[in-house]
Amino acid sequence: MNHISPVLWQYLVKWLTNFAVIPPEASTIAPQVDALLIFMTLVSLVGLTLVALIITTFCIMYRREKSPVATQIEGSTLLEATWTIIPLGLFLIMFVWGSVLYFRIYTPPTNAMNIYIVGKQWMWKAEHPGGQHEINSLHVPIGKPVQLTLISQDVFHSFSIPAFRVKREAIPGRYTTVWFEATKTGTYHLFCTQYCGTAHSAMIGDIVVQTPEEYKLWLSSSTSGVSLAQNGERLFASLSCGACHNGQPDARGPNLGHVFGSKLTLTTGQNVLVDEAYLRQAILNPSAHITQGFAPIMPTYQGQISEEGLISLVEYIKALNLNERIQQTTNTTELLPEVPEGPKAKSAATAAQGVAKP
């Protein structure tokens, strides 16, 4: 958009929004997607006009009254090449541009705050790390990257926020992610866009974008008092995970402190990155991935734990990285500090060893 005058751009977007042709632009990626959409619309208009003009002109010039005898023409390789290469070129531009946008939308930044979304027939449940639970709504702060980790409890659903230009399928059996950064406060539509049965059209809600102060207020007033990680700690105990994962050197199960974000070597020799999806799989399907040096004795918890339970456990294991247990138990109303994920987490955790800072 730097190439178009910002004033012109604002005008165009306002005009389009007021005439209700595009939804409001409420995220950082929305203007970028709109730019491509406008480009494609222009190209299409030009293409359509061209074809319409050609047809109309020829129909007028060569109608039978004016042109009683047709001239047989075989073709023109030059023309064929032209109208092969130019459309192909335009389509390839769109391909590259669109792919860049796609990568951007589906590659969350490492400092995004994570909110879990569980879809089920026929409602959306949002689980904030601080223990706030929402149904059919999602409160997010403005100006902060937010990652959504989605899963479905039953059939395919799709979490769609038209104002942010993002959408992601919620699939039964594994996590999917999407991220956004909201840029305008307000309330926007949330739709389920994957047909999921009887009340598919009722599986709608609100995305509420708030200023940081409003958001803090909302967090403190909506907390259940138990953060996800705390709930996970409770589950960890009640499911007796600690019997094997007790952190001792001779333990039957691998040490879970700092395991999130690390690279594990499995008994098959394969290396895996431990992310949320891996942890969820490890709880439900342990014998598919056994850490090297350990026996395949972990029982499966399939059927014994809900998706919310799994989310809590995953959050708990993530929290083990930061020795934030103390902070977790006392603070449920603050936004969790921005945490770099992945390999960086390990070094950050080592640096923050022992003392937690708000």
Binding site: V21, V51, W97, F156, S158, C196, S201
Partner: protein, 553 residues
């Protein structure tokens, strides 16, 4: 307006006494026929019947969507209605439409053969189609099915208790009808061309149906097995798509779309073949870039097999898979563009008239261009994220399927009506119907692009009130569209008795089918022709007319 229609003197002309319709009488002679022309007519009747049913479903959908609330029917009922609308329209109307009616009727005549390679299998095809259709009707009457035509698992395997099994079987059986038709076409075009009819003298209609036949033959079995697995999972509980048993629900989508994407090319390619014939005839010119158009058909068929996951961009496929499928989608868009330009340039230095088939062809070109371009919006992954699963998709595929394919079908029906029946349809009312259809179509489906852009999801019985205005526009358009479709049903039937006698070649077209009587003899030709002229050879036609002897029935 000038016209090229050239009819015999109506005072003395008669429809030839001996033709494929009068050859034998009695119901059994039709039900047990091996004559490709009779089978084509049998198909014509049956697909029209299913078109009515699918159309009625569409009417119900648009009625419900007049208001934001789900007030006309219960949501469950609405879900069944749109599911069955899709299944009937796709599997029982669009897929067989041009190939089974026009293709069956014309391909043997166009290549100079007496029939298709396997007449009995052709008849079997029709019965399989009827069986599939009957099963689908049965499923509809005894409770319907509400999974969407895409049968997404695990919804279809574990979360609905409607007639999934019966409908799955119906599609399985109808699929074999399609496979056998495709098989017949491929073998016929390869092996039964008349002497002198080389590949590059084939009318483009044959090329188009040939390409579609390849898709039918190779693609349909995969959706057959996908349905078998769904049925097994539903009935005995094998877990191939069930995440709780370690199965992958996304596997179903891969198997399903592996067919269903080529399926859309199965639907559109024969329509494109019709357009080639019509534009050539009403511009009195060989199609511009014949070779390019022929090869484009095959290119669409080949590329069409490698783009299926563009229906799954947001389903959690890897970024790299997205790159491959998005790129290939851009490639498959190009041959269609090539065809549009070639058809447009066929008009250059032509001698153009505007009879009804030509009007439908123009409608096709405009609407298919819009539909195809919006396909690029969707094949581009970054914009697909915003537009997928919304009314943008609904608008896109209706533009290509209804604005494109159905217009092409109507164009073809009108174009070859005199050949198939010996009678002309009434020109003025048919031109009116074409215009009404075009207007109604745009009113119905263009607002849906805007709805999709605004985010309105598809398959919604109820929607936020701010979407109502566009929905009302759309429903209003649908009523106009309905009139546009009803008119041909009425006047075409009327023309069977009261239409003008057509004669051999009312359009003065090239093509072997126009050099025989209307309606043709059962054996198509008194003698198998030896083809010396080029395809679309209007100069040859002129010379023929100079030596013409009027055919006596």
């Amino acid at each position: 307006m000038s016209t090229i229609v050239s009819l015999p003197d109506q005072a003395t002309a008669r429809v030839p006494k001996r033709n494929y319709i009068t050859e034998e009488n009695g119901l059994l002679s039709w039900l047990l026929t091996g004559d490709h022309k009779r089978i084509a007519m049998l198909y014509m009747g049956s697909i029209t019947f299913f078109f009515f049913i699918g159309g009625a479903m569409a009417g119900l959908i648009r009625l419900e969507l007049l208001t934001p609330m789900s007030d006309l029917m219960a949501s469950d009922t609405y879900n069944k209605v749109f599911t069955m609308h899709g299944i009937v329209m796709i599997f029982l109307f669009l897929v067989p439409s041009v190939p089974a009616t026009l293709g069956n009727f014309l391909i043997p005549i166009m290549i100079g053969a007496r029939d298709l390679a396997f007449p009995k299998i052709n008849l079997l095809s029709w019965y399989l189609y009827l069986a599939g259709g009957a099963l689908a009707l049965y499923a509809m009457i005894t409770g319907g099915v509400d999974t969407g035509w895409t049968f997404t698992t695990p919804l279809s395997t574990h979360y609905v208790n409607t007639n999934v099994v019966t409908t799955g079987l119906a599609i399985f059986v109808a699929g074999f009808s399609s496979i056998f038709t495709g098989l017949n076409f491929i073998v016929t075009i390869h092996r039964m061309r008349a002497p002198g009819m080389t590949w590059f003298k084939l009318p483009l209609f044959c090329w188009a149906n040939y390409a579609a036949a390849i898709l039918m033959v190779l693609g349909t079995p995969v959706v057959a097995i996908a349905f078998v697995l769904v049925l097994l999972e539903r009935t005995i509980g094998i877990g191939v798509f069930d995440p709780q048993k370690g199965g992958d629900p996304l596997l179903f989508q891969h198997l399903f779309w592996f067919y269903s994407h080529p399926a859309v090319y199965i639907m559109i390619l024969p329509g494109m073949g019709v357009i080639s014939e019509v534009i050539s005839t009403f511009a009195r010119k060989r199609v511009f870039g014949y070779t390019a158009v022929a090869f484009s058909s095959v290119a669409i068929a080949v590329f069409g097999f490698f783009v299926w996951a563009h229906h799954m961009f947001i389903m959690g496929i890897s970024n790299y898979a997205m790159l491959v499928f998005s790129l290939l989608t851009m490639l498959v868009a190009v041959p269609s563009a090539i065809k549009i330009f070639n058809w447009s340039f066929t008009l250059y230095k032509g001698s153009i008239t505007f009879e009804t088939p030509m009007l439908y062809a123009f409608g096709f070109m405009g609407l298919f261009t819009i539909g195809g371009l919006t396909g690029v919006f969707l094949g581009t992954s970054g914009t697909d994220i915003h537009l997928t699963e919304t009314y943008f998709i609904v608008a896109h595929f209706h533009f290509v399927m209804v604005g494109g394919m159905l217009m092409a079908f109507l164009s073809g029906i009108h174009f070859w009506w005199p050949k198939m029946t010996g009678r002309m349809y009434p020109e003025k009312i048919s031109q009116l119907a074409a215009v009404v259809t075009f207007i109604g179509f745009n009113f119905t489906f263009f607002p849906q692009f805007l709805l999709g852009m605004l985010g309105m999801p598809r398959r919604y019985a109820a929607y936020p009130p701010e979407f109502q205005v566009l929905n009302v526009f759309s429903s209003a358009g649908a009523s106009i569209l309905g009139v546009g479709y009803l008119l041909p049903m009425l006047y075409l039937v009327w023309s069977l008795k009261y239409g003008e006698v057509a004669g051999n070649n009312p359009w003065q077209a090239t093509g072997l089918e126009w050099q025989t009587q209307s309606p043709p003899l059962t054996e198509n030709f008194k003698e198998i022709p030896i083809v010396t002229q080029d395809v679309y050879d209007y100069e040859w036609l002129e010379r023929q007319k100079e030596h013409e002897v009027t055919q006596v029935g």
